[in-house]
């Protein structure tokens, strides 16, 4: 008994020593080398990509669709041989649409050794996640966070590790103002914004700036707050001002009942909004007829005839049995951009990837061909979506 115990102790010690040796990384010995190699190669063959998305909570439809798009991209890349000969592996986590949660999700993803993070979707949640990825020096590619400041430090220089594949709010607000003034030819505009969100506030400001510079007039500006469901009082007031066009920056949860109530009150003016409108819930709540003559700026259109888009839409439909929205497309592009960054870097190292991402030009994504500028924003076109009988159709594409 005593002897066998001693023997087992010696074996155990040898085992521990061998683990130490493996830890040092220099193991050319035979025997346990086989096992060890398998372990290392397993790690090296896979590039871990963290997906930190809003799978539940207020903007769950953004997060789930972007995740689906990202997973499709990963599947596509792996089917074509991966990146640098290695497969991408997604680690998907739910940040519950809460900035604090986005931060802790980033921390746990960093612990799992991801090389880059895709998501979260909204600007607020990206801002929540930012300190954690900056600290761990992991590039974050935001698919749809449009607030101007998420990629910027206070002094206006770019935040090293934060990138995005969507355009920023200032650009989006400006394009809608251009569209309203030039294409729709409206003069007197009402703004009814989500006053509780920086996103909508920023959009309203940029819209006003461009629109008044073009000689238009903002005749009335009103606000609502997140969670509001009754807009009749304010809408009746806006109806009294008789605008030619109403700009409604906000998210679909509030905007959908708002548009419905506006139409019920007999407001027939065309309505415009930002990418926050993009959700199937919009037509579900408002109804196809009432949604006619509404326009919103978006990142891509399912009707785009670009072969890249057609191919993406086909594969997405096949895999998920539904149509991809802009968030799916942006999630897809975020992964493609990351793959391009890894390829340009030539090795799987977060800091090298970050340096490569900064220099990306002429990247062809589903949401357009883009260059990454000094502020880590993509330079690309905007699509104006018009709803016709419940169908999202592409009205026009505006290049910067």
């Amino acid at each position: 008994m005593r002897i066998s115990k001693k023997v087992s102790l010696v074996v155990l010690m040898m085992f521990m020593l061998s683990i130490l040796a493996i830890g040092c990384g220099d193991t050319s010995s035979t025997g346990d080398g086989e096992k060890d190699k398998a372990g290392v190669s397993d790690k090296a063959d896979v590039i871990k990509v963290g997906i930190n998305a809003e799978l539940t909570g207020a903007v769950a439809s953004y997060g789930t669709n972007a995740r689906d798009g990202a997973l499709l991209a990963i599947e596509h890349i792996n089917a074509e041989g991966g990146v640098l000969g290695q497969e991408l592996k997604a680690i998907v986590r739910d940040c519950k649409s809460i900035p604090d949660e986005a931060m802790s999700v980033s921390a746990s993803l960093a612990d799992e050794g991801i090389v880059a993070q895709i998501g979260p979707l909204t600007s607020g949640n990206v801002a929540g996640s930012t300190p954690m990825v900056m600290e761990n020096q992991i590039p974050l590619i935001a698919p749809a966070a449009t607030a101007d400041d998420i990629t910027l430090e206070r002094d206006g220089s770019a935040k090293d590790f934060i990138f995005r594949v969507c355009y920023s709010d200032s650009f989006q607000g400006k394009i809608m103002a251009d569209f309203a003034a030039d294409n729709l030819g409206v003069k007197n505009v009402a703004i009814y914004k989500d006053a509780s969100s920086d996103y909508a506030q920023g959009l309203a400001d940029y819209f006003t700036e461009t629109f008044t510079a073009k000689g238009g007039k903002i005749i009335i500006e009103e606000g609502f707050v997140k969670g509001d469901r009754d807009f009749r009082g304010t809408l009746t007031k806006i109806r009294g001002a008789d605008p030619d066009f109403i700009y409604i920056p906000g998210y679909y949860e509030e905007v959908a009942p708002l548009i419905k109530q506006a139409r019920e009150l007999g407001i027939k003016a065309p309505l415009g909004g930002p990418d926050g409108w993009d959700s199937p819930d919009l037509v579900g709540v408002v109804g196809a007829d009432n949604l006619n003559e509404t326009y919103f700026t978006n990142h891509y259109s399912i009707e785009d005839e670009n072969p890249k888009v057609i191919d993406f839409v086909e594969r997405y439909r096949e895999k998920y049995n539904k149509d991809p929205d802009a968030f799916a497309a942006l999630g897809y592009d975020a992964v493609l951009l990351l793959a391009r960054g890894i390829e340009d870097a030539g090795e799987v190292d977060p800091v090298k990837i970050q340096q490569a991402l900064e220099k990306v030009t002429n990247f062809e994504g589903v949401t357009g061909t883009m260059d990454i500028d000094k502020q880590h924003n993509p330079v690309k076109g905007v699509v104006i979506i018009e709803s016709i009988d419940g169908k999202q159709t592409m009205n026009t594409r505006i290049q910067p």
Binding site: A60, E222, G223, R229, D230, R232, G233, T234, G266, V285
Partner: protein
């Protein structure tokens, strides 16, 4: 003038919903002196029951409403039995805290089982139609909600004023000990009060579903709080006061959005609560006896 009339119409539909919820607050307060903060959540459960009975069983809107009212009536009785009855002898603050606990419990149980995502209330259940009468736009939803609310309130008044159960409720509310001595079953009367109050909330939940098209697990919080303000405004514990208070708060809200700043709407409503509590805590219909508050 036209715009003012339109705003009042807007306010009446909203007010009808607040009034129905406020009735539940006031009835429960009148009888056991408890502010049932879980009441807004009962409304939310009612909206979900209606949602599922329409989307799963394809029932008519009226059937769905009756079904939701029954379900929530039972839920109300269960809540009272499990959460409030054991605390009947305890301090009022203990019961109040429990009510908040029940409220959170209902919210997050729904979140857990049904996800926090909003759902679209089946539009097919109620084909909306707008009428323009003398420049005022009125939809059949407004009319439906108003008629339903008035009918339910009339039935409630009948129950309270003309039936034996109603008499028992009034007696228990006036003096519980004396009521026991007169052979009234207090437990049974309280259960019935919860059942009636909760089923009115369920009806309100369905109306919110029809009127605002979407429902979610946290939808009960704000209307619940505003209905509470309405109940206090009318005089908590007084049934006609809750009705009037509900309509007043609804109209006040739309007028603030229409003529003031829509962002101050909630502040004004809760400001009313503060003013009422400072100036006339017994509410508009309250008698000035110091015992009540």
């Amino acid at each position: 003038m036209l715009e003012l009339m339109q705003q009042i119409i807007n306010g009446l539909s909203l007010g009808a919903i607040y009034a129905l919820i406020a009735l539940g607050y006031t009835m429960v307060y009148g009888i056991i002196k408890l502010i049932n903060f879980a009441h807004g959540e009962v409304m939310m459960v009612g909206a979900y029951v209606g949602f599922f009975s329409i989307s799963v069983f394809g029932s008519h809107i009226i059937v769905a409403m009756i079904f939701a009212m029954l379900a929530c009536g039972i839920l109300g009785v269960i809540i009272e039995k499990i959460a409030y009855r054991p605390l009947r002898g305890a301090t009022r603050i203990a019961a109040l805290i429990t009510a908040i606990g029940v409220s959170l419990f209902l919210q997050y149980t729904t979140v857990f089982f049904l996800t926090p995502q909003q759902r679209i209330f089946p539009q097919a259940a109620f084909t909306s139609q707008e009428y323009i009468i003398a420049g005022l736009s009125i939809s059949n939803k407004d009319i439906f909600i108003f008629i339903c609310a008035v009918t339910l309130m009339t039935i409630l008044q009948y129950i309270i004023r003309r039936t034996k159960t109603g008499k028992a409720m009034r007696a228990v509310s006036l003096d519980r000990d004396a009521a026991v001595l007169m052979g009234i079953s207090v437990d049974r009367t309280i259960s019935i009060t919860f059942a009636i109050g909760s089923s009115l909330a369920a009806a309100a939940g369905i109306m919110v579903g029809i009127y605002y098209s979407t429902i979610n697990p946290l939808m009960g919080i704000i209307p619940g709080l505003k209905a509470f303000v309405a109940a206090v405004l009318g005089g908590i514990g007084i049934v006609p006061g809750a009705m009037v208070g509900g309509f007043l708060i609804g109209i006040l809200e739309t007028l603030v959005s229409g003529y003031g700043n829509s962002l101050y709407r909630d502040a004004v409503v809760f400001g009313v609560l503060i003013v009422i509590l400072l100036v006339k805590p017994t509410g508009m219909f309250g008698k000035n006896d110091s015992e009540k508050v």
